[in-house]
Symmetry: C2
Amino acid sequence: MSENPLPILTYSEENYLKAIFHLSEEGKKGVSTNDISTEMKTRPASVSDMLRKLGDKSVIEYRKYYGVHITEDGKKLALQTIRKHRLWEVFLVEKLNFSWDEVHEVADELEHIKSKILIQRLDEYLGFPKFDPHGDPIPDEYGDVRSRPRLPLSEIEISGTGQIVAVKDSSAAFLRYLDKVGAYIGARIKVIDKVEFDGSIEILVDNKKSIFMSKEVVNNILIMQ
Amino acid sequence: MSENPLPILTYSEENYLKAIFHLSEEGKKGVSTNDISTEMKTRPASVSDMLRKLGDKSVIEYRKYYGVHITEDGKKLALQTIRKHRLWEVFLVEKLNFSWDEVHEVADELEHIKSKILIQRLDEYLGFPKFDPHGDPIPDEYGDVRSRPRLPLSEIEISGTGQIVAVKDSSAAFLRYLDKVGAYIGARIKVIDKVEFDGSIEILVDNKKSIFMSKEVVNNILIMQ
DNA sequence: ACTATTTTTTAGTATAGCCTAAATTAATAT
DNA sequence: ATATTAATTTAGGCTATACTAAAAAATAGT
Ligand SMILES: [Mn+2]
Ligand SMILES: [Mn+2]
Ligand SMILES: [Mn+2]
Ligand SMILES: [Mn+2]
C-alpha cells in the first residue's frame, strides 16, 4: 500500500508544482512549457530545466515537447502546499484582520514553512476551516478536497439566482473592485440582464443593488445555485 | 537624518547577520570567522565568502584576518529579524500551544517572511509582548530593546534569592530538563548551597523543591534579583 | 506535402551558497 | 627572533536557479 516516501521539494520546486497543478485543473490536456512560463514569470528555458528536475523526482510525467502531467505523488505534494497557503490566508484574515486582497503574497511565502505540527495546530486553532477567504476549498491533511459544485456567473441564465461562493482571480485589483461594488463570498445574486454582444451582465446583489459587470468580471465570479 | 535605505538581505545573509549580532553581544571584541563557522554549522571558507558579501552591503565592517564588527545598519537589520523570531515564538506558544522547547526551529524559518504589515498586525494581535517564551526581550519596530537587568544564576551568593527571567540556551534538551525539575520563567529561587569544586549549586524553587544543578545548567539560567 | 511560424529544448553564462584543499597571515611558544 | 601552530583566506569545484541566444521539434497555413 504505502510506497516510497514523497520526495522533498525545494521552495522553488514547490512553486512550480503548485502552478502546474492549478494549470492542470483547467482542461485534461498536458500543461505547456509556455503556460508555466507565463504563470511563473520565468523564461521558457528555465521551465524546461525545472521540468526535468520535477520529472526526476517523479512528481510530474515529462515527455519532451509534449507538455507535462502531474503524478499522484505530485498531486499530493501540491495539495499540501495549497492546504498551507489557504490555511495561512484564513489566519491572516480571521486573526490578523487582513483584507482578502492583501493575503496572497504573504501566504505565498508562508506556504513553504516546513512543519507538520505547525499546520495541524494552525488548522485546529482556526477551527478546521473548509474554505479560504476567496471561497477556495482547503484540502485536508491527506489531500482530500470537499469542493462544492460551482459555475461561473456567466453561465447563469437571465432571472437565475445563486450565491457567490468563490472567485477565480485573487488579485488585489479584482478583489478591491468586488469590495467596491458590494460583492462578497456568500452574497446572493440574481441575473437581471445579459448582453450577448460583449458578455456583460446586470445583476442584483442581495436584492438591493443593481450592478453592471463586464465579461472579465463575470468569468471570475463563481456561483452555487 | 534618514540615510540610504537599509540593504535587502537574502535568507542566508539574515541568518549570518543574526549570528554575528548574537556573538557580538558577548564581549566587545570583533567576532571571529571560526566562531561564526561554529554557530552557523558551515565551514570557515564559506564564512569568509559571506563576510565579504555582508561587508559589501555595509552591514558589517570587515578587515581581513581581524574579525568583524557589526555596523549600525547591521544592528538594525539583525534586530528586525530577532524581533520577528521572538514574536513568532510568542505566537506559537500563546496561540498554537507549542511548548517552549518546540518553537525555535519553526521560528527560525518564520523570521524570514518579508512583510512589515504582517509583523505589525502579529505584534498587535499578541498584545505587544515585551518578552519571548525564553525570557528574551522583543525589540520594537525601531530596534529598541527594553532589556531587564539579569545575571547568571552562578553569580548569586548563598542564601541569595531572585526570579528566573530568561534562559541563555534555548535548546530543546535544556528546556525539557528545566520542565522536568520544575524551573520556568518567573519561578522564584533561593540559593541554598554552592560547591566550589565543580560549580554546581543547590537551589530552592518556589520555596518548595530543593534541586541540585550542575555548572552547565547554572550558567544558562538568568536571574533578576 | 512543404514551408513558415511557433514552441520547446539545448548550450553556454551568471550568481548564491556551500564544499575541500592549498596558500597565506596571525598568534604563540621557545 | 624565529619556528611552529592556529586561524583565515583563496582557489577551484559543485548544485540550484535564473538568464540569453541558438538549435531543434512540432504545428499551422497554403
Ligand atoms: Mn510560494
Ligand atoms: Mn486564496
Ligand atoms: Mn533563520
Ligand atoms: Mn527565544
